[in-house]
């Protein structure tokens, strides 16, 4: 009878699991309970760097994410941009992933509006060009090589902010928010070839891969997924924003997934013992 129970557990219809995980994620979305978020040094390194720059410094925040990854990276992008704009840093941005161009434009425009920043004076959006590797290399020579005109079709030379800004060496640092494997190009080309000071904000899926570059000093900071975004929101003093709210769901869902792994394994070993005897 006992073995039969474990057999039933092992054969549970997968749609029950879908239902459980759906509810485990969904109910916390409704409740808005907030949970504490611990701050890690790799995220605060990004914050400290941006926070130490003098007002008016030009930084680059290239954003490569599309609708499929916006749940993770849009909160992060918003938090970083809010920090930049609140500190009167000037922002140059690109969107080298084609699906996300309009999304990035929206994030940039709306955050800038929130801080009443003016286009061309406080921030510039260069937009999209195909083949990110070549574009990243080309921008290392001169932004105008890849982007004679910005996203809105305005010539770069007629934007007052771009005056005297020719390539990465005129920017204080690059905070690349990226969901694609194009991150490697930023490390290899922008940092490796042109020596740009680089930090990454990436999806949690690829975040662990970039600790090696943190260790080697090729990047100075690293934000991974919603957790990274939630930490950044805390650092800029906005612990009620979207990523922090989502951390509740993440917590509950993690617990359930761990439970699934444990129950699944228990059933597996119980059944195996039964098979043997």
């Amino acid at each position: 009878m006992y073995g039969g129970f474990w057999q039933k557990v092992a054969d549970l219809d997968r749609r029950w699991i879908y239902l459980v995980i759906g509810l485990a994620t969904f109910i916390p979305v409704l409740t808005y309970i907030r949970v504490p978020v611990s701050i890690t040094s790799e995220v605060s390194a990004v914050y400290d760097k941006l926070d130490s720059l003098p007002r008016g410094t030009v930084v680059m925040v290239p954003m490569e994410f599309g609708p499929s990854t916006m749940a993770e990276l849009q909160p992060m992008a918003t938090a970083v941009l809010r920090h930049c704009f609140s500190r009167d840093l000037k922002v140059i941005s690109t969107a080298l992933q084609i699906e996300g161009v309009i999304l990035v434009e929206q994030v940039l425009r709306e955050t800038a509006m929130e801080y009443s920043k003016n286009y061309g004076v406080d921030y510039v959006f260069l937009g999209y060009k195909p083949s990110p590797d070549m574009v990243i290399l080309n921008m290392g020579e001169n932004f105008r090589n890849s982007f004679p005109r910005d996203y809105y079709g305005i010539e770069l030379d007629s934007l007052s902010m771009m005056n005297g800004i020719s390539n990465y060496s005129n920017t204080a640092c690059i905070v690349n928010i990226n969901a694609t494997s194009g991150v490697d190009y930023w490390i290899n080309y922008a940092n490796g070839r042109y020596g740009a000071d680089l930090a990454l904000g990436v999806t949690a899926v690829i975040a662990t891969d970039y600790y090696a570059f943190l260790h080697s000093g090729q990047i100075f900071g690293l934000m991974g997924g919603l957790k990274g975004a939630a930490e950044y929101e805390r650092l800029i003093g906005r612990p009620r924003d979207i990523a922090n709210r989502a951390m509740t769901s993440v917590s509950v869902a993690h617990v359930f997934i761990i439970l699934f792994i444990i129950i699944g394994n228990a059933a597996f070993f119980a059944n195996r013992r039964k098979d043997r005897s």
């Binding site: 994620t25 590797d133 290399l137 005109r149 996203y151 490796g192 899926v205 891969d209 080697s216 090729q218």
Partner: protein, 239 residues
């Protein structure tokens, strides 16, 4: 908004089983995203990278100043990439499809050439440089922390940080030993490879844990969206 919510539900219906709603949504998106690509490429890339410099150099040709050859040369330089690119379309015709290898060859040659030294530099040499740790300094920090622990009973965790440095260097070497295929895994090499695979597993475990977080985040994003949709409907009925 409602269209969006409907399509979201179409996709979620795949969880139940493969069905016409899902197939419909999928085909719709393939078409729309291709059309979106055309628009983005047309507006942001083709005109300002190729057509405008070309037009400008043709206009310059008429202006006096500079040598004829230089001005003519500029036209050639500006027209070439587009012409090479147009060769790509030869692949739609069976007889001429071999010509499309030329632009591919150019593209591949340039990107391979750029990548060769840079991948060696960033992925190999910089990682090696990171592992050139100062053993004396690390040992000193660890000893200091142990002294604090023995004398005051609390740790500054410096010992663990130092140990971590050593784990990185040895772990990396053992990992490389695991991926060393020129000798059988016996003796020292075998031992190193065994430690290497354990280290690799811990690393993959970390990736695994983070991936779970990423996937959950995407789901939360969708639920937040559905909530907004419901809120919007609520507002609509209120008004």
């Amino acid at each position: 908004m409602t269209v969006a919510a409907f399509l979201t539900l179409c996709i979620f219906s795949f969880l139940y089983r493969d069905n016409p709603f899902y197939t419909f949504a999928e085909h719709l998106i393939v078409g729309i995203s291709a059309g979106y690509w055309v628009a983005i490429l047309y507006h942001t890339s083709l005109t300002d990278l190729w057509i405008e410099p070309l037009v400008a150099s043709v206009r310059d040709f008429g202006n006096p100043g500079g040598s004829m050859i230089a001005r003519g040369g500029m036209i050639v330089v500006n027209i070439m990439p587009g012409l090479i690119g147009l060769l790509m379309f030869s692949r739609f015709f069976k007889k001429t499809s071999w010509i499309s290898r030329w632009p591919i060859a150019f593209y591949l040659g340039v990107s391979a050439g750029v990548a060769l030294p840079l991948f060696l530099q960033s992925f190999v040499i910089r990682q090696v440089a990171a592992n050139m740790i100062n053993p004396v300094g690390v040992a000193r920090n660890m000893a200091a922390d142990l002294t604090v622990l023995v004398n005051y009973g609390n740790s500054t965790l410096l010992f663990w940080q130092g140990l971590g440095q050593i784990i990185i260097v040895l772990g990396c070497i053992c990992g490389l030993a695991y991926f060393y295929f020129s000798a059988e895994h016996k003796g020292i090499l075998g031992g190193a490879a065994k430690i290497g695979i354990w280290i690799l597993m811990i690393g993959f475990g970390a990736t695994f844990g983070y991936t779970v977080m990423a996937r959950i985040s995407l789901l939360i994003g969708r639920f937040n969206f559905l909530m907004d949709w419901i809120a919007a409907i609520g507002d609509y009925f209120k008004v």
